[in-house]
Symmetry: C2
Subunit: 208 residues, 2 copies
DNA sequence: CCATGCAGTTAACAACTGTTCTCTGGAATT
DNA sequence: AATTCCAGAGAACAGTTGTTAACTGCATGG
């Protein structure tokens, strides 16, 4: 069904991706609200006006980056949190997923951590929406667990939001560990994983 | 001992404060890394060059804002977390302190939440230092509690950091509730307080 | 009372920004 | 083969930025 898109569209998507990549790189040392359109095109090596063929503004590009950073995570979340194994096991699985994701895409994680409370409203909203979707999905998995009987839908969703928040905090801590001096890295990573597990556990105990 | 500073220095501090206030206002809708020096002076009604009499750069002003936002909190933290009353009581006291602080200085709280992971390194560091001081102080109070016997200094400090992080998250949630529609405000505020208490409690239970 | 110090002003600078309009080369369509 | 389409280039615009220099007026200390 995927009819290979022509040379034309392929080239277009290529420069679009180049713009996204360049922006993500530049955003390691500044916030989105100070990112200039010319700055991005200069980094890619295209004319400033080419930017408009892909994004209305840098805020628009930011929203696209949110999709890129979080969009692909949904299926992974579902399977890791799915109701197989006991609580303890699910928690360690989730934390491992986070650790691997932070390790693989540190720039994306930093971007989300930074812009979640950042100065660009549409981007904040896009992040909030994605996190709400995560929470919804976590709730769906929680609901399958027999332990969840007797809980209202709202309570479960609230609990799911708690989990999602905790995951973000954990990701941020992993990132800090990653950015620190290399000799401490392994130790601090283990440390964060341990603290995060301890932090998550009581949340599920409220269940009982 | 405070020899009333002359007309000269008084006027200087006044414009300095005006610059800080104006910046804080402008930062409600953008990040520090995009805040221009001219923008600030224009809001105050003073020549752009006057800025340099007070700050080297906007980053420098940001560091001053961190001091203003968090500096005055240290004594309050000490007394609220001090070892009087049981854990439950201390927790509710701390959460009430946070709620009142967010209510009284929402712009400061937003600034800290935004710039903690923001794009300006010196400001991030200033915030990290202040939070480390908070953790140190909380640790000192924890150490006075007989329950803390048998814990190493490092473990206590780690626990204190956990508390401080949790306080910041709570502050951020209070702020979100405050920014939402007015009819939901009271309910959401109560909700946040309740969830925060539940979230903090297990942390201290790890003690036992 | 007079000389000094210094907060804030004025003017000018090169560099940079987002946005518009016009143009071009080559892929896509007919 | 001829035509349309459109991603990207190029040039120009008015407005903004941070920073420098030389100034002015007034509070200060001798």
């Amino acid at each position: 069904m995927s009819h290979t898109l022509g040379i034309r569209q392929a080239q277009k998507q290529k420069t679009r991706q180049a713009l996204l990549d360049a922006a993500l790189g530049l955003l390691e040392e500044q916030s989105l609200s100070s990112l200039g359109l010319r700055e991005v095109t200069r980094a890619v090596g295209v004319a400033p006006t080419a930017f408009y063929r892909h994004f209305r503004s840098t805020a628009d590009l930011g929203v696209a980056l949110v999709e890129e950073a979080l969009g692909s995570l949904h299926p992974m979340i579902r399977t890791t949190v799915s109701a197989t194994g006991d609580h303890e096991e699910r928690i360690t699985r989730a934390i491992e997923l986070i650790a691997r994701h932070v390790d693989g895409y540190p720039a994306h994680v930093r971007f989300i951590a930074r812009e979640r409370h950042g100065g660009v409203q549409p981007v904040r909203e896009a992040i909030r929406d994605q996190l709400a979707r995560f929470a919804q999905e976590v709730k769906d998995e929680l609901a399958k667990d027999p332990v969840s009987e007797g809980w209202t839908e709202d309570d479960l969703l609230m609990l799911a939001h708690l989990y999602v928040d905790q995951m973000l905090i954990t990701a941020s801590l992993f990132l800090e560990a990653l950015e620190g001096p290399e000799e401490e890295r392994a130790q601090r990573t283990r440390h964060v994983a341990q603290v995060a597990t301890r932090q998550m556990r009581p949340v599920s105990y409220t269940h009982l």
